[in-house]
Symmetry: C2
Subunit: 349 residues, 2 copies
């Protein structure tokens, strides 16, 4: 943690969210944007008196030229970096492509890398991308402490977090309504008569997994159902672990009649377990899956629009680069329940 | 094209495939590797006479220190680049992850980007990665002329092409047996009694699409079946185009009784068309699909192992970086027919 008092001008002005733009300088000095630009870039055509007024406004506001934005405008191939979590997770495919499309529309290349859910690797990759002079970063964080990015952000690297929030720094982030989506899905089971409902999710230290579990608990509480420990299983989403968790919930004297799968990796394995299972068990998965509508029964899901998430984040990033300064925001996008049959099965007993 | 005679030493020695290694120098000078290393790096401990012999061997062989390999060994975070075709195609997920795992095992970061099937963008991206000092490149080419990479290769950037061969340069490449896989699949239809077999593939300028079409034609020719133009449709793999192609083949006085889908994007759409179709039509898809085994009927596929392809390419890249010099090679990996029901349906008439 920095020891500098939080209100020192050098810190305030360095936060990109509050960073004054040329527009602010122009307004304060009572001149046009072009005039500010001339002063900032040392170009001729400004009277000494105007230059003094602009300089005063610059000093008063703590304006600093945004070199990243300049680079974007000045013709070197601009680039933005995307730090992914898992290259093989199909959720990130459309998200990456959407970020790439926005980057392309701004004439920038997209460079990706994956943390493989390892916080050290996330940091190493993000800093390696900064060292390779990306103009901005879209980060799907694996870790929960992003203070390592503060010097980069101060140096002008635009930054947006996606899918999970940043840890210990203020930064833009674009998330799905993980809590609300899971609560709606579990409520859907309850509306179809289920009470013994299982939840299989990812590791609880992952923001999305924790939020979805919270949604599950809230829906159960809404309905006055006391959740049993045996109904909840969180951990790695490997097929072996998920299969074991599902089989345990489905056996014993009081098995679950419905399973809420916490993400697409979990859903795929639970579909396989249920296909081998004699008794019909209801299923809702968080995240949509290709071909899910063609299975028998079709798989009901809580869908996130990965492309919209990616596009929203990328647009936010380019707003930062273009100096459209607003305070860091958390943008939460809604999920959508898509009913296809598996989530509407009544309890087997 | 360069005007330099092809056998000039400067060119021969600059081709990484033929590039002499320290081992070659040691063998020629009749000294140990460590001695060559001392001479090359200007370290003490070598007699003038030995140094002279090593220097002569270096000159005779045209040895050049491989700076990329040195960088890999010397501690700066090494990185390799992967130029993908489409970030949202699930085939490339496991491929990318396999490349990343090999990179990680070598202490290197993987940086990705996508050409979106645009040759100009492929070039821009590959050169941008080189400018950002990657040590090597794995390229899934969109274009068919890669001479733009020659200066980078000469400068020591290791390069391996994947999925499709390089154009107009000699380079390592790792491919699937696209021709053999398609021929086997279409032969499988014929063995189940089909004669009117459709082929829906990607744009014919794409190597894999052309090879798979060639495999289709070869299998038909093997069986003495004259192929009708109406049975073949090549073009973009958008759902609209593929749906139209499938519906045309399935209508008319003499519809096809089986469809060979040229890649996973095509297969997904054909599955949807056939699900709405009254008459049963056999289907085999090139590339496996998640959940394909759980559909009714299960989808028979010609499977490529994307992870093995990625791993093979990445290992080849690090061999280059480590100076294990061999001539550029084309490595062709076998495909595998996985029967699940849809490819074993008999002709409906």
């Amino acid at each position: 943690m920095t020891e500098t008092p939080r209100r020192a001008p050098s810190l305030t002005t360095a936060r990109y969210g509050n960073r004054p733009t040329m527009k602010d300088v122009a307004a304060r000095a009572g001149v046009g944007l072009k005039t500010v630009s001339r002063v900032v870039n040392g170009e001729p055509g400004v009277t000494p008196e105007t230059e003094r007024r602009v300089q005063e406004a610059i000093d008063a506001l703590g304006f600093r030229r945004n070199d990243s934005a300049r680079v974007l405008r000045k013709g070197r191939t601009a680039s933005i970096g995307l730090v992914l979590e898992d290259l093989a997770d199909p959720f990130y495919g459309p998200l990456s492509r959407a970020v790439e499309e926005v980057a392309r529309a701004h004439g920038a290349l997209l460079i990706n890398g994956s943390s493989a859910e390892d916080p050290d690797r996330e940091q190493e990759l993000a800093l390696a991308l900064c060292a390779r002079r990306v103009d901005g970063l879209v980060v799907i964080p694996a870790g929960d402490d992003h203070r390592y990015l503060e010097p980069e952000i101060k140096a002008g690297v635009a930054t947006v977090f996606v899918d999970r929030p940043a840890g210990r720094i203020d930064a833009d982030c674009v998330l799905s309504d993980n809590f609300g989506g899971a609560r709606e899905g579990v409520g859907h089971f309850i509306a179809h008569g289920h009470r013994r409902i299982g939840f299989i999710g990812d590791m609880p230290r992952i923001h999305t997994a924790a939020e979805r579990l919270r949604g599950y608990r809230a829906a159960m509480e809404d309905a006055g159902i006391a959740v049993e420990d045996a109904w909840m299983s969180l951990g790695v989403t490997s097929p072996d672990r998920v299969r074991r968790a599902a089989e345990e919930m489905l056996s014993g004297p009081s098995p679950v009649t419905a399973i809420f799968a916490g993400n697409n990796r979990v859903t795929v394995t639970v579909i396989r377990v249920l296909a081998e299972h004699a008794r019909r068990v209801a299923l809702i998965g968080f995240d949509d899956l290709e071909l899910a509508d063609l299975l028998q029964p079709g798989v009901t899901v809580i869908s996130q629009d990965a492309a919209v998430i990616g596009r929203t984040a990328a647009e936010r990033l380019f707003q930062q680069l273009e100096g459209v300064g607003t305070a860091p925001e958390r943008i939460v996008l809604p999920t959508r329940l898509i009913t296809r049959g598996s989530g509407e099965l009544p309890p087997a007993d």
